[in-house]
Amino acid sequence: MIHASSLQEALDHQASGAVLFAGGTWAMRGPMDRPFVTLSGIPGLDLIEGQGGQLILGALVTHEALARALSTDPGRAALALAAGKSATPAVRRMATLGGNICTADFASPDLVPALLVLGACVTIVTAQGVEDLPLADYLATPPGPHVLTHVKLPAVTGRSTHVRLMQRQAGEYPLAALSMALKADPDGTIRDLRIAVGAVEARPRRWPALEAALIGCTPDPAALRGIARDLSDFIGRDAVDAPGWYRTRVLPGLVARAFATLTAPEGR
């Protein structure tokens, strides 16, 4: 185990085959024949800082710290709920924001769909320098060797929420998770809508067909499930906790639940 004290040092060790180590809740469950390079000695990676309306989060911010910091930030409720309900209290004290994003083998990272609907960008450091890119691009085309250092969230203009379907209410991975961010006129017309789905496919992603169909509309809540069913192009993954068909079957229900939350008088 190597303790990096700078990003360059971490990159150098990564280039030599070391695995980046943040909270350890995933890395410690994998092969133990690899060297780990810990990032905890690099200054600034536990940052939580508001800049104007923007929020900057360090990659080593834990789920617990994130949920606590966002507890008074209703516009970013999707992320607060995702951070505060994932896994278990003890794991939330260890698992990090950066680990949740960067663990490519993890199909059910709760934070990622919430970050997608909140318009997150990630900052990565490579041998070529520092780069900011949208999280969606980062997920679609994973860059070469890099350290993800920060997540930047733009100013919030609407409400958001995060809903999960569980076998038990807590303590395990969701069978399907859905984040939604909504901006609506007083008459209910949808001005902006972002929906992202996690746990259903190998990696979380937005649901552009459903977003496009609903923006500019005043949808009848009773019709939402049918619209979502018709516009679903997700191909569910089979795993030990649920077959793929089941994960896609429950998505319309999660859409309806999230929409009801966001359009309730005190919804979030």
Binding site: R29, A90, M94
Partner: protein
């Protein structure tokens, strides 16, 4: 590289593989077997210990990250003639069945009640989500935990 930390107040100098888990060192080197090795993936909470006062799962913590840290295991919490409030409530309510979960349960709940001294039953249940009781004796555990604040107020 030698890692210096404390376990239940006693200093430990560790110079083995830094990737080795805290749980393995506790159980196999120090014979502190209160923390149980069950799922090994952070789900069940049977290996919960306090790291600098906060409950964490020892099965996922490599020794190399513990330099300067203070670890408390169930063996370091209370004493046979001076149990802490959670331990005493577990005895009073006859909570312990097979014994696999309760060391972790005690450590998690002792921290939770210190932060939330007057919890509702729902708050207790949410706080218990990381500690699985394989005997499924949850209701009695919740009863025991819910009894603590009123009992302490009656004594004061």
């Amino acid at each position: 590289m030698t890692i210096s930390l404390t376990i239940n107040g006693d200093p430990l100098e560790y110079s083995g593989d830094p990737r080795r888990t805290l749980l393995s060192v506790l159980r196999n080197d120090l014979r502190l077997t209160g923390a149980k090795e069950v799922c090994g993936e952070g789900f069940c909470g049977a290996c919960t210990v306090h790291v600098d006062g906060a409950p964490k799962v020892a099965c996922l913590i490599p020794m190399g990250t513990l330099s300067g840290r203070s670890i408390t295991t169930i063996e370091g919490l209370g004493a046979p003639d001076m149990l802490n409030a959670v331990q005493q409530a577990f005895v009073d309510h006859d909570v312990v069945q097979c014994g696999m979960c309760f060391p972790g349960m005690v450590l998690s709940m002792s921290h939770f009640l210190a932060e939330t001294p007057h919890p509702t039953r729902d708050e207790i249940k949410r706080a218990m989500t990381g500690n699985l009781c394989r005997c499924t004796g949850y209701e009695r555990i919740v009863d025991a935990l819910a009894s603590i604040a009123p009992a302490q107020e009656a004594l004061s």
